[in-house]
């Protein structure tokens, strides 16, 4: 059964009215997802046993009159860079093809505690490095809207599963746009919360100062509810924030009158005309809802990509050093004379794909003696300036809206041979990660070819509530 018509609320209503049990829903959802998966390659692993166990627990609670949780019985897909105890977690890398984690990520634990039913693990770019999902060691994901096109990346499988109706919700991860861009390409909602809002415990580290766990859903309300479940301080992640988690879903009253919305001038220069028209159309809708729109400026925007590819690769080169053939399942075949150093080099040389190697090399280079100040420290200084741009703009406006990507989903293979072009396509999403602010993508229409386009909404640190209110009001107004 396709889950396309289902939401958190419809499943809860169905369970309480005894139209179906959580176990029945899980079985049907798994059957459907397994049948549909060859069309997109969205899932790498199905966790049927674990799903049924979770679903039965929800049914037991309902039968016993207990509270079944905010996500009771809701089928959810988890990006395969987020660890799941006893369920294979590959990071879409050959290196971890057989890795079975001994613990659950905090976000996963919280999803299940809230009654969520984890159907399986979704495909992505290897170690979340990529913007098209073409860097997976287990084959690319196809966009369910247009199968000859990419679903975006790196959380391409998560976005595709939600768009395809093989999950109601998904968790992704975002370091430079990896939740928002695939959400935009596949026509679903994707959220990058404030840095520190969701624990990174159990999220395989790519660039620790930029990594976020974020929700994907088919509605703003469902995304808000999922964020509320996974957000909050966790003692297992020292960078997780103490700030209290607000009741995001309860704040969605549709009233955005008087909110000040900024359009960052630098984001509107380089749009493909169709994307631009759709974004301006969305701005008109927000105006009609009573928002005050004005232009703002983020003057250091054009330096964001360079800054990001120094900081993110520097951190990645360090984080990925652990895949050395000692602890994580894969070791290269060694000859009798091979040393420990040979083992490291061969294991990593044959294990990592091209994009991971590129980033490890770049990161190692910018951190190496003689280059550290010129590249790494310089980038950290420019990052301060980029964050300051946002702080200054947010002194004038409550949220900003912008495109997510300069263009809609591109064709498979179109950009694989030009890494710089691929990197440049992340220009509108990378800035939010560098500043650590919450941002999201909400669908705002389709091009003439039927390709979805996402509207990005960016808000102040820890002000997810206002971001969701604007997104929800827009969604309701544009659905009429």
């Amino acid at each position: 059964m396709s889950l396309k018509e289902h939401s958190i609320a419809s499943i809860r209503a169905g369970l309480l009215a005894k139209k179906f049990t959580a176990a029945e829903l899980a079985i049907e959802a798994l059957e459907h997802a397994q049948k549909e998966n060859p069309k997109t390659n969205a899932y790498l692993t199905f966790s049927s046993e674990r799903a049924l166990e979770a679903a039965r627990e929800v049914d037991r609670k309902i039968a016993a009159g207990e509270y079944p949780g905010a996500l009771a019985g809701v089928p959810i897909a988890i990006k395969d860079v987020i660890v799941t105890r006893g369920v294979r977690t590959t990071c879409a890398s050959r290196l971890l093809e057989h890795y079975i984690p001994p613990y659950d990520a905090t976000a996963v634990e919280r999803v299940e505690r809230a009654g969520g039913v984890i159907l399986g693990k979704t495909n992505c770019d290897e170690f979340a490095m990529g913007s098209s999902n073409e860097n997976s060691a287990f084959g690319p994901v196809r966009n369910p809207v247009a199968p000859d096109r990419v679903p975006g990346g790196s959380s391409g499988g998560s976005a595709a599963a939600v768009a395809q109706g093989t999950a109601v919700l998904a968790l992704g991860s975002d370091t430079g746009g990896s939740v928002r861009q695939p959400a935009s390409f596949c026509g679903v909602t994707g959220v990058t919360p404030t840095y520190g809002r969701v624990s990174r415990y159990g999220l395989t580290a790519f660039a620790s100062s930029l990594d976020h766990v974020g929700p994907l859903a088919r509605s703003v309300r469902d995304a808000a509810t999922l964020l509320q479940v996974i957000a909050g301080r966790d003692e297992m992640d020292a960078t997780s924030a103490f700030a209290p988690v607000e009741d995001y879903a309860a704040a969605l009253d549709g009233n955005v009158r008087g909110l000040k919305i900024g359009l960052p001038r630098e984001y509107f220069d380089q749009l493909s005309s169709e994307t631009g028209e759709l974004i301006y159309g969305a701005v008109k809708v927000l105006e009609s809802l009573g928002c005050e729109v004005r232009e703002v400026t983020l003057p250091h925007t054009s330096y964001a990509i360079a800054t990001y590819y120094i900081i993110a690769t520097a951190e990645a080169s360090s984080n990925l050093a652990r895949y050395d053939g000692v602890r994580y399942t894969r070791r290269a075949d060694l000859g009798p004379g091979d040393t420990l150093a040979d083992m490291y080099r061969k294991t990593r040389g044959e294990g990592f794909g091209a994009e991971c190697k590129r980033r490890i090399m770049l990161g190692t280079y910018v951190l190496s003696a003689g280059y550290y100040d010129a590249y790494y420290i310089k980038a950290q200084k420019v990052r301060t300036l980029i964050a300051r741009d946002f702080a200054q703009a947010f002194a004038e406006v409550d949220v900003m809206v912008a495109p997510v990507s300069p263009f809609p989903a591109f064709k498979l293979g179109e950009k694989v041979d030009d890494p710089v072009a691929m990197y440049l396509s992340d220009i509108f999403t990378i800035t939010g990660d560098l500043a650590g602010i919450p941002c999201m993508s909400v669908p705002c229409g389709e091009t003439a070819d039927g390709l979805p386009v996402g509207l990005q909404i960016l808000a102040r640190h820890f002000d997810e509530t206002t971001m969701f209110r604007v997104a929800d009001a827009y969604e309701n107004a544009s659905n009429v």
Binding site: A238, T307, G325, D338, A341, R348, E350, V382, L434
Partner: protein
């Protein structure tokens, strides 16, 4: 400054990454292209700008509920209560679980090629 294949070999050595001859050539070209773009940062005047340590400390005064006994821990967003948990003994994974994913293990240890000759 153009990146050479020799530079790339040196970095590959530092990164413990075995690259084939073809990969070295391709990598030299790719990294050179990326570094050219990165050179754009030289346009920015960063005199008197502090390098970012944490996005939260850069966020002016958003988190201000500093309780007493605060450790001003920049890495966890300055001004938050201590991000360090109490130093108490608690159960951990255990050896068998910790080495379960090892490609080669024995007697509760990870096994690697010999590094010290007796």
């Amino acid at each position: 400054m153009k990146l050479t294949e020799q530079d790339v070999r040196r970095v590959a050595e530092l990164a413990n990454l075995e690259l084939s001859g073809d990969e070295i050539a391709r990598m030299t070209q790719d990294l050179d292209g990326i570094l050219k773009h990165i050179d754009k940062l030289n346009e920015v005047d960063t005199t008197a700008v502090e390098p970012m340590v944490s996005t939260l400390s850069a966020a002016s005064g958003v988190i201000s509920h500093a309780a007493s006994g605060v450790i001003s821990d920049a890495a966890s967003g300055g001004g938050q209560p201590s991000s360090l948990r109490d130093d108490v003994e608690r159960p951990c994974l255990g050896t068998a679980t910790a080495i379960a994913n090892a490609p080669l293990a024995g007697n509760g240890y990870f096994k690697v090629p010999k590094v010290i000759e007796r």
